[in-house]
Structures are given as structure tokens and as C-alpha cells.
């Protein structure tokens, strides 16, 4: 498309600003709603961060509550569980990313290679069904499957001559249970993005490769995977930037006191100490700590990605 000459290119300062606003008003209107969303729901609530330094009293509000300095941070850093929480959060996130991240990519590639369209659609639908089961129901199913006495998995183990395993009460098994159940819940849905990216690959590339005698594996290796790299890198950076944001709902539904050693993470601790004890200052302080670490992580990983692959978020 040829460039249009800028009608108001000779204008300067405010006049040029108003001219451009008038010219692009439709675009501005479109962008105004997401802009308002971010201002209202992402930036304005940030003033609540000061709760981390206050002893919150409802009638005094956030601004009127008395300052307590770093009391909540001291309580968190001084907790006997501080290092355990950090370790568990990091390990659970890292293992989850390592084991779950490649699954939807592999699944999407395998699906795209299927010749029968009906089977492709059928497999895709079945794979993302667990994503739509509520977390409470899904974890109820997991707990039932893993029941030490009558769970389907332990019955199978016994039939095979192995000893039953108390998956729910053995701290060593918590992480595998968390990760495998997470993969089961999410891989189908997460594959949608990669499938879309695969669909966008120019079919001429595959045709040319086929004419040149490339096998199916070679086509995947030399066309599909390189075309997916930008999507993979961006999603990986975003995932890494959320490393400390392990959600508490699933863990609360799965853990028992016997598995706290590997299962108790920052968010479950905040739930018990911040929300259940109505200690919102403490909860905010830990949340702020979480956010700062996540922010640092996303900067570091973005820089690493830029250096290695020249693909990055910014």
C-alpha cells in the first residue's frame, strides 16, 4: 500500500497533536476502552500497595490507617517457613514449566500432522474438555483416582503386584501429582494457540519441501518448529515472568498437612495468614514481594531471550 502524504505535516506542537487526534479519532475511540480498563483495574488499584506498610483499619481506609513501616515484611522474612515457601514456589513453578510447557507444542504439532480432519477435531475436543471442568470437581476426581485404598491407580498397582502408594499424603509425590494433573487439565486448551500459529504457516513451504523430498519429520523439524519459535519464546517469557504466581486454589484442594513440606507455597501461606486471619497488610506485603520478584524475573528472562534468539517482549 502506498504511503499517503501527511496533510498536516507542516503543523507543529499542540496544533499537530489536535490534528492527529482528529485524524485518528476512530482508532482512539477503539483504544480508549482497553486503555480505561488498564487505568481503572490495573494502575489505579496499585495505590493499595501502601497497605503493605500500614496496619489496615476499615474505618480509616487505606490512606488513613497508621503506618507500621516494614512490620509485615519482617514478619514474613522472619517466619520459620520463609525459605520453605520460596523454595516450594520456585520448584513447583520451574518443574511445572519444564514438564508442562512442551506438551501442548508437541500435541499441536502431532494434531496438525493428522490426515483425518474428523479425528483431529475429535482428539482436540477431548483434549480440552478437562480445561472446562471446575477446579473443585477436577481435583475431587484426582483425589479419588489416587485414594490409597480404593483409587483406580492404586488398584492397578496392586493388580500388577506393586505396593499401593499414598500419593495424597506423601510429600515426595505432591509435585508429580500437581504437574501431571495440571498437564491433564491444560494441555489441550493451551495447544489452541500453537495450532493457530501452525495454520498461519505458508503451505507453499511444505509443498516446496515435499517436492525437494523432505520427509514428514524433516518438514516438522525445518518448517513447523522454526515457524513456532516466536510464539514459543513469547509464551515462555510470559510463563517465566509468572513463576511466583502459583495459584492457591488447586494446592488447597490437593494438599494435606503431611505434604506441606513440598506443597505449601507463598499464595497458600498468604491465604492462611492474610485472608483467613483478616491480616490484609501482611497479605499485601507478601503480594508486593511476589510482584517485585516476578518483575525482576521477567526483565532478566526477556534480556536473556533477546541475547540468545533476538526475539523478546520488548
Amino acid at each position: 500500500m502506498a504511503d499517503h502524504p501527511i496533510a498536516g505535516k507542516n503543523l507543529r506542537g499542540l496544533q499537530r497533536f489536535w490534528y492527529l487526534c482528529r485524524r485518528d479519532r476512530d482508532l482512539l475511540v477503539i483504544v480508549s476502552l482497553p486503555f480505561a480498563f488498564y487505568v481503572l483495574f490495573r494502575y489505579l488499584p496499585m495505590y493499595g500497595i501502601i497497605l503493605a506498610f500500614k496496619d489496615f483499619a476499615v474505618n480509616k481506609g487505606i490512606l488513613g490507617s497508621p503506618w507500621v513501616g516494614l512490620r509485615w515484611f519482617e514478619q514474613f522474612f522472619g517466619s520459620p517457613y520463609f525459605f520453605r515457601l520460596i523454595r516450594n514456589t520456585f520448584l513447583l513453578s520451574t518443574y511445572y514449566i519444564v514438564f508442562s510447557f512442551p506438551v501442548p507444542i508437541i500435541f499441536a504439532i502431532l494434531l496438525s500432522e493428522l490426515k483425518h480432519r474428523w479425528y483431529q477435531r475429535f482428539a482436540q475436543t477431548i483434549s480440552y474438555l478437562p480445561y472446562f471442568i471446575s477446579m473443585v470437581v477436577a481435583m475431587g476426581m484426582v483425589v479419588n483416582f489416587l485414594n490409597p485404598q480404593e483409587g483406580i491407580l492404586n488398584v492397578a498397582l496392586e493388580r500388577l503386584g506393586a505396593k499401593p502408594i499414598d500419593f495424597i499424603n506423601d510429600a515426595r509425590w505432591f509435585r508429580p501429582v500437581y504437574i501431571v494433573s495440571g498437564i491433564w487439565q491444560n494441555f489441550g486448551f493451551n495447544a489452541i494457540l500453537y495450532l493457530a500459529a501452525i495454520t498461519a504457516i505458508d503451505p507453499q513451504l511444505y509443498e516446496a519441501a515435499t517436492i525437494d523430498g523432505a520427509t514428514q519429520l524433516q518438514r516438522i523439524r525445518h518448517i513447523t518448529i522454526p515457524s513456532l519459535v516466536p510464539t514459543i519464546v513469547i509464551l515462555l517469557i510470559l510463563n517465566l515472568g509468572n513463576m511466583l504466581n502459583v495459584g492457591f486454589e488447586k494446592i488447597i484442594l490437593l494438599y494435606t498437612p503431611a505434604t506441606y513440606e513440598t506443597a505449601d507455597v507463598i499464595s497458600t501461606y498468604v491465604y492462611r495468614r492474610g485472608l483467613q486471619e483478616n491480616n490484609f497488610g501482611f497479605g499485601t506485603a507478601v503480594g508486593l514481594f511476589n510482584a517485585v520478584v516476578n518483575f525482576a524475573l521477567i526483565i532478566v528472562f526477556n534480556r536473556i531471550a533477546r541475547r540468545i534468539s533476538s526475539i523478546s517482549l520488548w
Binding site: 476499615v58 474505618n59 485414594n147 485404598q149 495424597i168 494435606t256 503431611a258
Partner: protein, 552 residues
């Protein structure tokens, strides 16, 4: 032109949204004086208001899933509205989620109801100083006709509902503390099949469970027996802790989040039970049951439905749960031969307490208040506070309100003849108690008295008779749940969550055999390091106040 109009319209909408989303300035709490000051003294007469008054009440749905949560669609609540002339807009949240949901709303300081159940929302005095609720003393004085009547005959309850600063911040739920409490229930037919009787000592109990495990009590020729089933989670440790009585401990159920079960008073001294050799013996004994396959392996993830499954399959010989449910377990058992809901005869029989090493044989009474309480919020307009208090007062102890609790609605679930004799009524094929529960009767999840008369209406005769013979076993708890000061609450808030995390984690590992019991002394010493003495000090202060106000 059309585009610019659209742009202007969208911008206007956006501005309105921004303005609307801005938080309204903090409203000043209305004065606590009421407009009814000049009226004649209130004498508990119905209706409570000449014109229909609407109040919003936020509460939880109760712990009993079988109960119908409050709703204006239910005849009992329609009847209450009819007689009181007070329309309640109910907001109900599940019992488990209630503190999280409501504490967040309380912290936001907006959208508060007129009446708020204060269950697990923290220290009442702190809520009042934060401007969430108002003290009710003056209102009770003027409009608490039935509450005052109740206090006159039960001064100990008044003392327990009064905060250390002298204020009453809410009328609290009173519980039946010595009737069919949590206790193990034994299948009497299983006992007959193994040729053993009701156990009276820990050893006899152990031998009974072994016999249940080894002698195929469900007769399916499979070694699938799970002799003793129960739930043990940080939320619900009581089904196990009740057995601690057999080791001279008293791990009393307090409701709410009060960890009163950690302490007892002996020889005029408050001590932490978790550090005593008796507690070690108790945990050792439970560990033996677990490792020898005498208890359910899923005790940390089981729930009531799971216990029922064990009973239905005939695998369980003993169930630890509320013994008011004994007839329901009996109804579910394969030993039940056509006795619908187990109402006619016993199958699962509440167990007599096991004798402790000192020779004592007791169940500890529950704490008398369980944390449910009806507070009036600062958002309740001044002109409505009198009616709010009258409504709380009437629901708590008013004669017709108690009738709805016990019998449901006249004409629907009961009839009364000229002499006042009551006849139960239910649709054909429906069990009466299930019917009354379905229309909103029984014990609704709002602050109320648990009355023996109501309770008797519901219990099968055999269970009521058994309860009468068990009265001699109930013992008063030495630590009673009276209120903490704000300063005490602050210390507990900082210390207790980490302590209970450590305690439950370690106890569970002891029971499951993941931590050897040789580590018990290290556990007791670690409790000191983690500040149990600071918590104990707070409990000592509270106990001293308890002695002062209750005389024991």
C-alpha cells in the same frame, strides 16, 4: 460526523464509568441513638414493626449440608416475615468460604449488610473499633426483651457474650454442649459377629478393631475391612481429638478458629497439652492404629460422604463423627433391614468413653458458644437499628420463632389441637424431619439457641434414651471460650497461624509414621522456639478473666 458523534458518546460513557467506579467517600457511621426513644418500653409484642421493614442479613449456610440455607422461598422464612413484619434480604455464603468472602467485604468497607454473622471474622471489639459493627448494650437494654429474659436465667451466657471492655457486640449462637457430642459409634451387629462387647479401655478398643479387621465383618470373603473411619484435617480435627480423653487430655471443640484445644487447666495451672507425655501416648496409640491398618488411610482427605461409603459397603465397624448422626450411619449400613433412615433401632451405637490411665471416663463438653453471632453493622441506618435488634432478639428467644425452629409451620408440618397438643404432618412418603428441614425448619444457620426441646423433636427415641444414660460422662471444659482483648487478638494473629501449621503438619506425620515418635521431645521443644509460651500467656490471662466472671 457520524464518527465524531460516536466518539463523543463513547467518551461520555467512559467518563461516567470512571466517575461511577470512584469510591464514595467514607460515610460517617450514623449515631447509635434510635428514634424510638420516646416510645413505651418494648415488651416483645408482634409484629416487630408497624410498617414492613427490610433488612439485609449476611450469613453462612451452616456446616450441615442437609439444612436448607435461609431463603424467602421457604415457608418457615415466609412465616417469620409474616409474623414479624420484617423482610430479610438474605445473602448466604458456604460455611467454608464465609470468612474469606466476608472478611474481604468488611475490609473494603462497602456493601455491608444491616446484620452480619460475625463467625470467624476476628475480634468483635476490633471490628467495632474499625467501625464495622456497633455495641449492642443500649439496644439490648431497650429492645432485647427475650435476650434479657434469657440472660436472667443464664447469667453465664451473658458473661461469655460480654467483651473484656464491657460491651456486648453480638448475640451469639448457644450450643447444646453435653448431648450426643462427637464420639466414635460402633456397629453393634459387627460386635456380635466378632463376639466382643462395647470397649471400655484403649486396649479393648484396639482388640475390637483388630477383630473387625481380621474377621470379615461384612462377610464378602475379602480382607477389605477398614475397622475405624474418621476425618482428620486442620479444619476438623475433633473426630480424632475426642479420643484424647482416654489419655487424660481434654481437647475441646471450640468452633471458630479458637485453638483452645491446645490448653487445659490442671491443679490451678494452665498448661499446653501438646507438650505433655499424655499427648505423646495418645499420638503413639493412634499411630499404632494407622500402621496396623485399623484406620482409614484417607483420613486427611475424607469427608462425610466418604464415611457413608465405608459404612454402606459394610467395611467400617466404627465411625467417629457427630453422634447425632448415629441413625443416619445405621440407615446406610447393610445391617439395616428395612428400618428407614435407622430411626427405629440402633445399629451404630455411640461408644462409652474409654477409661483413661487415671481411671477417669469422660467426654469433654463442647464450648457453649461456637462463634456464630449476629452483629449490627454501622451501615444499618439509625432508624432501622431498633427493628434490627428486635428481630435478632425475637429470632433468638421469641416463642413463635422457636416454634418454627422446632416444628416448622402450623398447617404445613404440624397441627395443634384446642388443648395445644401437636401432631406432626408431612407429605405422604416423606419422613417428617426431612420435610421440616426442607421447608427451613430445624437449626437454621443464624444465631439461635440450640434447645433441648427442639433437639428432642428430631432425635430417634433410642438415641435420646441412650443420650440420657451418657449424661454422667460429660465433663466441663477447663478452658472456656470467652472473648479476647484486641491486644491479645493481635498477638494470637501473629503467632497462631504458623504454630497451627507446624502442629498439624507434625501430628499428621507422627500418625502416618512419616516422622518417628522418637522425635516427640524435639517437637515439644520446637513449640517453645516457635512461641507457644506467648500464646499460652494470652490463654492464662483469658482463663483468669474466665475464673473472675464465671467463678470456675
Amino acid at each position: 460526523m457520524r464518527h465524531s458523534k460516536l466518539a463523543v458518546l463513547l467518551l461520555v460513557l467512559l467518563s461516567v464509568a470512571i466517575v461511577a467506579s470512584a469510591r464514595a467517600p467514607q460515610e460517617k457511621p450514623p449515631a447509635t441513638t434510635t428514634t424510638a426513644a420516646a416510645e413505651a418500653p418494648y415488651a416483645g409484642k408482634l409484629p416487630l414493626a408497624p410498617e414492613k421493614v427490610t433488612l439485609r442479613f449476611a450469613t453462612h449456610k451452616g456446616t450441615n449440608e442437609a439444612m436448607a440455607p435461609p431463603s424467602n422461598d421457604l415457608p418457615v422464612y415466609q412465616q417469620l416475615e409474616k409474623i414479624t413484619n420484617v423482610h430479610i434480604e438474605w445473602e448466604t455464603v458456604s460455611w467454608k468460604d464465609y470468612p474469606t468472602v466476608m472478611a474481604t467485604r468488611v475490609a473494603a468497607g462497602s456493601n455491608l449488610p444491616d446484620i452480619l454473622n460475625l463467625d470467624r471474622l476476628g475480634n468483635y471489639a476490633k471490628l467495632a473499633s474499625d467501625g464495622v459493627i456497633i455495641p449492642q448494650n443500649e439496644l439490648i437494654e431497650k429492645y432485647g426483651y427475650y435476650v434479657k429474659e434469657f440472660f436472667k436465667s443464664n447469667p453465664a451466657y451473658k458473661a461469655m457474650m460480654t467483651a473484656p471492655d464491657g460491651n456486648i457486640y453480638c448475640i451469639e449462637n448457644t450450643v447444646l454442649d453435653s448431648h450426643l457430642s462427637i464420639m466414635p459409634m460402633v456397629n453393634k451387629y459387627a460386635m456380635q459377629r466378632v463376639g466382643l462387647g462395647m470397649p471400655t479401655t484403649v486396649d479393648e478398643f484396639y482388640n475390637l478393631l483388630k477383630a473387625f479387621r481380621d474377621k470379615d465383618i461384612n462377610g464378602n470373603k475379602k480382607a477389605d475391612e477398614v475397622p475405624f473411619v474418621l476425618i482428620f484435617t486442620p479444619d476438623q480435627p475433633w473426630y480424632l481429638f475426642q479420643l484424647a480423653n482416654a489419655f487424660d487430655l481434654e481437647m475441646t471443640w471450640g468452633g471458630g478458629t479458637d485453638p483452645a484445644w491446645m490448653f487445659r487447666v490442671r491443679n490451678g495451672k494452665l498448661e499446653c497439652q501438646l507438650q505433655l507425655p499424655e499427648f505423646k501416648n495418645f499420638i503413639t496409640s493412634i499411630n499404632r492404629l494407622y500402621t496396623e491398618g485399623l484406620m482409614n488411610k484417607d483420613l486427611t482427605s475424607a469427608n462425610y460422604d466418604r464415611l457413608i461409603e465405608y459404612v454402606t459397603s459394610g467395611q467400617a465397624g466404627v465411625v467417629s463423627y457427630w453422634s447425632t448422626y448415629a441413625y443416619l450411619f445405621g440407615g446406610a449400613s447393610p445391617d439395616n433391614q428395612g428400618d428407614k433412615d435407622g430411626m427405629k433401632a440402633s445399629i451404630f451405637v455411640p461408644m462409652t468413653p474409654l477409661k483413661s490411665p487415671s481411671g477417669a471416663q469422660y467426654y469433654t463438653k463442647r464450648l457453649s458458644l461456637n462463634g456464630d453471632g449476629m452483629g449490627i453493622t454501622t451501615k444499618c441506618p439509625a432508624e432501622k437499628r431498633a427493628v434490627a435488634m428486635k428481630w435478632i432478639d425475637y429470632l433468638f428467644n421469641g416463642p413463635e420463632a422457636l416454634m418454627t425452629q422446632q416444628w416448622g409451620v402450623e398447617g404445613l408440618s404440624y397441627t395443634k389441637d384446642a388443648a395445644g397438643a401437636i401432631t406432626k404432618k408431612a407429605p405422604a412418603g416423606m419422613e417428617w424431619s426431612a420435610y421440616v428441614t426442607s421447608i427451613g425448619g430445624n437449626q437454621p444457620p443464624r444465631a439461635h439457641q440450640q434447645l433441648l426441646a427442639v433437639w428432642r423433636t428430631w432425635m430417634p427415641q433410642w438415641l435420646e434414651d441412650l443420650d440420657a444414660t451418657y449424661q454422667k460422662y460429660y465433663k466441663d471444659p477447663s478452658v472456656v471460650s470467652i472473648q479476647f482483648t484486641q491486644a491479645e487478638s493481635d498477638v494470637l494473629k501473629a503467632k497462631v497461624p504458623d504454630l497451627t501449621t507446624y502442629v498439624f503438619e507434625t501430628i499428621t506425620k507422627f500418625i502416618l509414621g512419616q516422622t518417628p515418635l522418637s522425635q516427640f521431645d524435639a517437637f515439644a521443644a520446637e513449640l517453645d522456639k516457635r512461641g507457644i509460651k506467648d500464646v499460652q500467656k494470652i490463654y492464662e490471662q483469658r482463663w483468669q478473666r474466665q475464673v473472675k466472671v464465671l467463678g470456675k
